[in-house]
Symmetry: C2
């Protein structure tokens, strides 16, 4: 298991057949191409990159350390931000009783088919089956009813980091669609709709930052259609990403305003300053380990993973390039000294001094794992008091003086982070097509585009679009109505119904 | 929900009936006494202290923010320490397939009756029932078999933070015995037994530090008997705490050496430097949210919770003590300034400026929640440029000059942390009885003591002790054989069997 092994690797005279053996295991390079067979490429990238191990229960995956570091870095950012907002962490049980789960009808309809049920403990049947949480609205809100009495109990702002289970049967995909996944779910209650509306957007902005500032993925902020909104909620906002290779949108994270619907179902009332009783306004919002899958799909290439420096557990891998007649120990020492300097400067750097692998093998290995920057040190570099930097994102090579190491490396890592975002944005933007008519729409859909179309915003019309685009590729649906709306000339007609259009909306196939 | 409310409380003219109403809800002070009816006292302390809310599924509890902060502080310490040891975090699925779960026979026997089974998703029966992890040895080790090939793959050191489920039917108790709980579980594999033995003790030392340095609870490090060791393991070490009020020991955390038993079951082999194949040596170790329950039981008093400063989410609560004719705003400002100074100094301090509660009510409220230190500021303090400190642990009051605020408060918090540990140690030590004969043993047991007795270390003898002490209070068992062994005069006989004693062992009833 490389990501453990590296840490414990010591220079060692032995070599021999070992190399080949491991080579076979790790499967250097990928046998699938991102442009040719994306699905197989994705699986190979996350498995050979040692992010994911397949598990003996379908739809469940093992998240390996290479994945968990990314999850922890995003956690530390998001958790600190919501604590500034006075949101507090809690933990509610993973189990839900049937009557509570089914209290909100629209809501449960959205989840019922995917709910896993515990019916036995040991050999004993339970008196009533117990559900495993697919999400925690109905788990938490009976207690919001109990905890909220007066205006001084508001706002009530809680979050939890936990696992949830949705027993889906449609093609499971690591990170993107799994039967168990990790997420945070925030659940807040306010005295006024204004406060709720404001928080929905504050949280959505944090989700944008996770995608754009950490994962280097451009997202569109917008509102979901009535058909696509959270079951039981008032309205849903989301950040939407796009995968050019498959022409599919992917819902990155959602921030819902639940309105007063759950408050009515669970009787969450409060007495205001004037002693008048009112219903609370509620939000719920979540992002999950799906974020990591989107990162792989957007940045990965035919060599494997490409990790943005912000979230990479190893930002810089230092590889010695010894030559027969060169002073190997001196080169090893230079590598260790380089790692020491970078680590001291707060960078995540490691050395790969294993002597049972060739430099070339190590290059491929760390490229497959997506390490953003490689430093090579050989006799010539020693002589010239320099090191060679090789970027993972564009393979460019730069020799820099050892004297200026830290500053230069920091600068290059920033450039890599920015370049990944820029390239992803160019590819995303190049995939956008404006469609004013049904013909333009279907044409763009077949070309796997992200379609921006004028829409009348009627649910039946979206239902119709879904029916008319059914097929093995999956039907098209609305992705979101972007907050940033292009001008809509008066008289513009809906691409699908021919009625007057109300807004520009993104459409496409999605994950 | 006070711990949310406080953060958002603003000075406000309104008051009236609200006070009484909340008073009723929060139930100021406790109606049960720790010495009289401990069980009811404990429940009242964790519920009124707003750590726990009872849930509609028996044996499941809601962990409220007042609890989660403590959990997070311990997490941040432990997670950083194991990362220094090159242990990496991962996440394995919550679900286990039956054949894998049952692979290790002794192991599964230990857990089988408590395993919860998922048999349906939606309305569909699963082809095979799927278990929810009670612990993850059998979940993880098939992949250790896959990941470990050669000596360079070792050591393999993984940890995960997760929830586990043990569907127990014997009297559930918040934190101490619940059907779902949070924990970390470490799973490591080594080439040699020496490395495994060494890590077992390194981890046990971290557990000791969590109890003694963070929770201010004295623990005994020792080894479990063959009868009490982890099912399927080679030997189990633990830190053992004691609850004087109930005379029960409580297993604080365990660090197991699994030997090569699981390695044989799951075929976890490696090739050493000489190309010779060998079995790995494995450890597993865990601590859980039970730690928090032990903290409440040891330190809590008739006023409610008593939190050690190291883990308290609020270390200092600042309460204004206005008088009719005094300048209330000036007092409020002094409180805010005090909080600002303490917060700047890195302390967790908050003010309670709510004007719909009397100072006296606030004193009781924050005492019930266990805040270690209270600062009172009234007109007299303003005049004398001083504040009054009131300690939660011993109710002592000290007036200190505002000029020396931060240093004095830090000093007092350190004293409180130390005093809690010293008092708990005195009470624990006062409960220890040496028993050389069966008569002395049963006498001490009835007096609810922690019994240190010379033992022949034979399993049938422990079984006999269990049989002979059966009763409504529960049977006695061995708690641990302390590493720190008193001298055992040659010829000393076992308290229970009359055979030659091999060691001193702690005995008693336990949770």
């Amino acid at each position: 298991m490389a990501d453990v092994k590296e840490n414990n690797s010591k220079p060692n005279a032995k070599s021999g057949g070992k190399k080949k053996e491991v080579k076979k295991e790790t499967g250097l390079g990928l046998s699938n191409k991102k442009d040719e067979n994306f699905g197989e490429w994705y699986t190979e990238a996350v498995v050979n990159g040692e992010m994911i191990e397949y598990y003996d229960i379908s739809g469940c995956y093992i998240l390996r350390p290479w994945t968990m570091t990314i999850w922890e870095i995003m956690h530390d950012f998001f958790d600190a931000e919501i604590k500034k907002m006075k949101i507090k962490n809690c933990y509610f049980p993973v189990f839900v009783s049937p009557e509570v789960l089914q209290k909100e009808k629209d809501h449960i309809e959205g989840f019922a088919p995917e709910v896993a049920w515990v019916t036995k403990s040991g050999n004993t049947d339970l008196e009533v089956p117990i559900a495993i949480r697919p999400t925690s609205e109905t788990v938490m809100y009976p207690y919001y009813h109990k905890w909220i009495r007066g205006h001084r109990d508001l706002p009530l702002k809680l979050n939890q980091w936990c696992n949830v289970v949705r027993w889906e049967f449609s093609n499971p995909t690591p990170f993107i669609r799994s039967r168990e996944f990790l997420w945070q779910e925030g659940h807040t209650a306010f005295a006024t709709k204004d406060e709720a509306d404001e928080e929905v957007l504050q949280i959505l902005e944090l989700y944008r930052r996770i995608y754009e500032e950490f994962l280097a993925i451009p997202v569109v902020k917008g509102k979901k259609s009535e058909r696509e909104k959270f079951a039981g909620g008032l309205y849903t906002t989301s950040v939407e990403a796009f995968i050019p290779n498959t022409g599919r949108g992917v819902q990155g994270a959602t921030s819902h305003c639940l309105g007063q619907n759950f408050a009515k179902m669970f009787d969450i009332k409060f007495e205001n300053e004037k002693g008048v009783s009112g219903m609370v306004w509620q939000n719920s919002w979540a992002y999950s380990t799906r974020t990591i899958g989107v990162m792989v799909m957007v940045h990965g290439d035919n060599k494997g993973l490409v990790l943005p420096p912000q979230v990479a557990s190893i930002q810089v891998i230092v590889v010695p390039v010894p030559y027969k007649d060169a002073d190997t120990q001196a080169i090893f020492d230079a590598c260790s000294e380089t790692v020491r300097m970078l680590t001291e400067a707060g960078l995540r750097a490691e050395e790969d001094l294993r002597d049972n692998y060739s430099p070339g093998w190590k290059y491929s290995h760390w490229e497959m794992k997506g390490v953003p920057l490689r430093i090579e040190i050989g006799p010539k570099d020693m002589a010239n008091k320099q090191v060679r930097l090789v970027r993972r994102d564009n393979s460019s090579k730069i020799d820099i003086p050892t004297s200026d190491l830290v500053e230069q490396v920091k600068g290059v890592l920033d450039k890599i982070q920015q370049n990944l975002f820029d390239v992803a944005t160019q590819k995303r933007d190049a995939s956008i097509r404006v469609a004013n008519t049904w013909e333009e729409f279907t044409l763009a859909l077949n070309e796997k585009k992200l379609i921006l179309a004028p829409w009348c915003d009627e649910m039946e019309v979206e239902e119709g679009v879904k029916q008319r685009t059914k097929g093995e590729m999956g039907a098209a649906k609305s992705l979101c109505t972007p907050f940033d709306q292009p001008e809509l000339p008066s008289g513009t007609l809906c691409f699908a119904s021919g009625k007057l259009a109300k807004k520009w909306t993104y459409w496409g196939r999605s994950y």
